[in-house]
């Protein structure tokens, strides 16, 4: 089954490469989805079936839908792709790519200098995961809950728009308030 691992890894790499080079946001999102599914396959082959499940349901399902919603809301289409094509010149991407490649080469040397270590992954069942999550990592779970709540409140606050067109009842109320305000000022 090693071949499945290498195939999934190659798919993940190629799809990720496509994500960072596409001009059209929707194409990049679709490639990222493929990359996430390949990740799920890798997790499954590593014996982490629950992580694979979460990867598909939450990442490829929920988070990608958020991205697609925003791309649709902003109506990013042909013009954005044109602009991206203008921005993404070899002169622009050469330097950062070389620097990142140097960093990766360093990492490669570091990993390869340690001895070979082949193993067959043991399956970690969702039961063990749940026991660990709710015993040793209970504080972490509660902190994650607080983080998610802060994110929800923050997103609702940041995403709020000032209403330019008021409903007629609201408009009357606002006018009354302004009159009252003027009276008190006078």
């Amino acid at each position: 089954m090693e071949i499945a691992f290498y195939v999934a890894g190659t798919v993940a790499l190629v799809a990720t490469l496509m994500v960072i080079t596409r001009h059209n946001p929707v194409h990049a999102l679709l490639y990222l989805n493929v990359s996430l599914l390949a990740h799920a396959m890798l997790f499954y082959l590593l014996g982490a079936s629950f992580a694979a499940l979460l990867e598909i349901i939450i990442y490829a399902g929920a988070i990608m839908v958020l991205f697609i919603f925003v791309v649709m809301l902003l109506n990013l289409g042909k013009e954005t792709a044109e602009q991206e094509r203008k921005w993404l010149k070899p002169k622009v991407w050469m330097g950062p790519t070389v620097l990142a490649a140097v960093l990766f080469a360093e990492f490669l040397a570091l990993v390869l200098s340690s001895g070979q270590d082949a193993y067959s992954p043991a399956v970690v069942s969702p039961r063990e995961l749940a026991v660990a999550l709710y015993r040793e990592y209970l504080i972490g779970v509660e902190l994650a809950a607080m983080l998610l709540m802060a994110a929800v409140v923050g997103a609702a606050h940041i995403g709020r728009h000032k209403k330019l067109v008021l409903h007629r009842f609201l408009r009357e109320e606002k006018e009354k308030e302004e009159e009252k305000h003027e009276e008190t000022v006078l």
Binding site: F5, T16, L32, L46, A51, T97, D117, A151, G154
Partner: protein
Amino acid sequence: MKTTVSTEVVVLLAGLLFALGIVGVIIRKNIIFMLLSVEIMLNASGLAFVAAGSRWGQPDGQVMFVFILAMAAAEVSIGLALILQIYHQHKSLDIDNLKEMNG
């Protein structure tokens, strides 16, 4: 169905994906693509965690992956709300247009 993997290959794969994420953040000027690249990096680190957990047969790697997932969800929701606001105020997603913040 028995898979034999070597630790180096998995870690190298995670490192390569992480490097691709870094390149994506640096070379892109569109803020949506930068957010996507951050997602790629989070996923790569999650892969490294899961690989480490599977190496020792312990659930801790997957626990860390669950935390990364929660963090990514929070980060994406805030980031996309910010992107919507930026687009409404500047009518553009070019990060060079945001220099009035004066960092």
